[in-house]
């Protein structure tokens, strides 16, 4: 599987990008132990002038490179946490709806419809505005709009799995329905959802960036979206300040997509060979 995965150049590129990002996120507190929101030097210092602050400073004299490193932490943490939350909730809802059937299925699917009808970003906006911006609230806000897709996919998968012989067998030996649903059906319904997880992570990273761009991120954390918004005020004199964190964001999302595509292709090839 891993050999198949590394055969595609896209997957290798994606893996390198993500590895670098994870390294940046992990190394941030070691390389830049100071608060990235604290003043590090004169304001608006251009890049490559002072080698203690290689990428210069922003409008308030904060170290841009330190912000990039610490921003990687926030971006990855929020993106992964929000994606994990939406996948767990979606898989649970989808399994219960598909396995229980009847009115339980009907109610859960109408709720899913309702969540898909409201624009996810507006929902996130409203939730953060009511609950107040903090890291945990942002994670939940993003998950509110993202759990529906895994729920639908899981339900469709569960509907086909629950008719299989081994499920009938589990019923015959007297297993509790909940045990059948979660121990026999759910694990087998996971692969299509996991194939989609890269898209969910990427979307979560982008939503987090958009929220913090609008000033709705955790005010005590550096975020790339916040840095882009901060640079907007001096877009004419220092476009660099908005463009660089955006490039970091694009590379992150691209890395996630590439790894996801590589993994899906590798597993398709593997299935084809088997």
């Amino acid at each position: 599987m891993s050999r198949l995965f590394l055969r595609s150049p896209e997957a290798v590129a994606g893996t390198i990008i993500l590895a670098l990002l994870v390294a940046m996120a992990l190394a941030a507190p070691w390389l830049f132990p100071r608060d990235p929101l604290a003043i590090a030097g004169p304001a608006m210092l251009p890049p490559f002038q002072d080698w203690t602050i290689p990428l210069g400073t922003d409008r308030l004299g904060r170290d841009v490179l330190s912000g990039l490193f610490h921003g990687a932490r926030t971006s990855l943490a929020v993106g992964l946490a929000a994606a994990a939350t939406s996948i767990v909730v979606g898989v649970l809802v989808g399994t219960i709806a598909g396995f229980a059937g009847g009115w339980v299925d009907e109610v859960l699917m109408r709720v899913t419809d309702a969540f898909q009808t409201v624009p996810g970003f507006l929902l996130a906006l409203a939730f953060v505005s009511v609950a107040g911006p903090s890291l945990g609230v942002v994670v939940v806000a993003i998950a509110l709009g993202a759990w529906t897709q895994p729920a639908r996919i899981t339900r469709a998968e569960v509907l086909s799995i629950r008719e299989r012989d081994y499920v009938a067998g589990a019923r015959v030996i007297g297993m509790h329905p909940a045990e059948i649903a979660f121990r026999e059906v759910l694990p087998n319904a996971l692969p299509p959802v996991l194939a989609l997880s890269s898209v969910i992570v990427a979307a979560a990273v982008l939503t987090e960036a958009a929220l913090s761009f609008l000033g709705l991120g955790d005010p005590n954390r550096v975020t790339w979206g916040g840095m882009i918004a901060e640079g907007r005020a001096v877009l004419r004199s220092a476009p660099f300040l908005s463009i660089v964190p955006g490039i970091a964001l694009v590379l992150t999302v691209l890395g996630v997509y590439l790894v996801g595509e590589g993994a899906v292709e590798a597993s398709a090839v593997k299935r084809g060979n088997a």
């Binding site: 896209e10 109408r110 709720v111 419809d113 309702a114 898909q116 009808t117 409201v118 624009p119 996810g120 970003f121 507006l122 929902l123 906006l125 409203a126 939730f127 953060v128 505005s129 009511v130 609950a131 709009g145 990427a202 982008l206 960036a209 958009a210 761009f213 609008l214 709705l216 882009i228 907007r232 877009l235 004419r236 476009p239 908005s242 463009i243 955006g246 964001l249 694009v250 999302v253 691209l254 997509y257 590439l258 595509e261």
Partner: protein, 350 residues
């Protein structure tokens, strides 16, 4: 959705039936979809109510803040509006006022929420309509270019290019475009919907608005352009394998005829469904794009509502957006039924 693939042998002759039959089918489809939308809308309303309850203050506070009033009047209003009762009574009162198209009072604007929202809606519709048209036309065209020769250089180039474009957040793309086209080249205006107090009318005004919308439409639409390109290409790759393509080749049809009339045409239908599914996402995206370019639309209004802690307005925007998404999906369903005579045949006969 479930009725989409159903239908027996009768359906095959449908396209030859008289026009009145097809109209009837569309009407039945509309009725069915509208009935299906009711419970969904009810859940959205209850969810909105819960968010409103969680926010500090209620509708009377909002009213008093924007229009003033003493404690006695506030208490009287609370009783009149049914806000002093149990949560269930409050929910009933909320539903009742929604039925009368009363979405409450905006704190920030001191006006009814519905008036403010409807005032901003046309700008958002214009932005979304233009972005959809751009992304659908260009995306499917480039998708055909990529999918006409799977595995070729241009296919690979467009696939990787669209993946990269798909990773670009719209608001950042917007800023980069501003740096290039407004700051450096000075070709396009920075923000706003039109030049203020320019005195332009008719065609001149339309041209002015179009110039203002170029960058926002590009920023909002490019993500979907990439999506439609990728869907078109993937769809064509599926269709290439089908027997009727082989049959077309065997009949000696030209390659371009096979690509356009047989492969692309069949791959286009899923994209039409996607148009409806993406409407919610695009509405969400327009929040950031409208805020960035200072376009007075629904999205910017949402950001203003958050800034002013105007929860009734924000919830009003959510409700109107949900209705809009349902309406767009209904239109897409009707368009789909017109394009593909098999769709809805089972439902219409039921």
């Amino acid at each position: 959705m479930s009725g989409r693939t159903e239908g027996g042998a009768k359906e095959r002759g449908l396209s030859f039936r008289p026009k009145s039959y097809r109209m009837n089918r569309a009407l039945r489809l509309i009725r069915r979809r509208l009935l299906g939308a009711l419970p969904v809308l009810l859940i959205v309303v209850v969810g909105s109510f819960l968010l409103l309850e969680a926010a500090p203050g209620d509708a009377v506070d909002a009213y008093a803040v924007s229009l003033g009033g003493d404690a006695g009047m506030i208490a009287a209003l609370r009783e009149a509006w049914g806000l002093d009762g149990t949560p269930f009574a409050r929910l009933t009162a909320y539903l009742w006022s929604l039925l009368h198209l009363d979405l409450g009072q905006s704190v920030a604007f001191s006006r009814p929420v519905l008036d403010v929202v409807l005032e901003r809606l046309p700008n958002t519709l214009l932005l979304m309509g233009a972005a959809t048209a751009l992304s659908f036309a260009l995306g499917s065209a480039l998708g055909i270019v990529a999918g006409s020769r799977p595995g070729s250089f241009r296919d690979r180039f467009l696939s990787i290019g669209s993946l990269a474009l798909y990773a670009v957040p719209g608001f950042w793309l917007g800023l980069v475009l501003v740096v290039i086209f407004t700051v450096q080249l000075r070709w396009l205006p920075l923000s706003g919907m039109e030049t203020i107090a320019s005195g332009k009318t008719g065609f001149g005004r339309a041209l002015d608005i179009a110039r203002h919308l170029v960058l926002p439409v590009a920023s909002l639409g490019f993500l979907y352009l990439a999506l439609y390109l990728r869907m078109m290409r993937a769809g064509m790759a599926e269709v290439w394998r089908m027997d009727f393509v082989l049959a077309g080749r065997a009949r000696g049809l030209s390659r371009s005829r096979i690509v356009l009339r047989h492969v692309a045409r069949n791959a286009l239908l899923p994209l039409v469904t996607m148009l409806g599914l993406q409407s919610a996402g695009m509405l969400g995206g327009s929040v950031v794009i409208e805020s960035l370019f200072a376009i007075p639309g629904l999205g910017r209004l949402a950001q203003e509502a958050v800034g002013a802690r105007d929860t009734p307005l924000l919830i009003g925007i959510i409700l109107v957006s949900a209705v809009l998404v349902i309406a767009v999906n209904l239109l897409v369903d009707i368009a789909y039924a017109m394009l593909d005579p098999r769709v809805g045949a089972g439902e219409a006969q039921a």
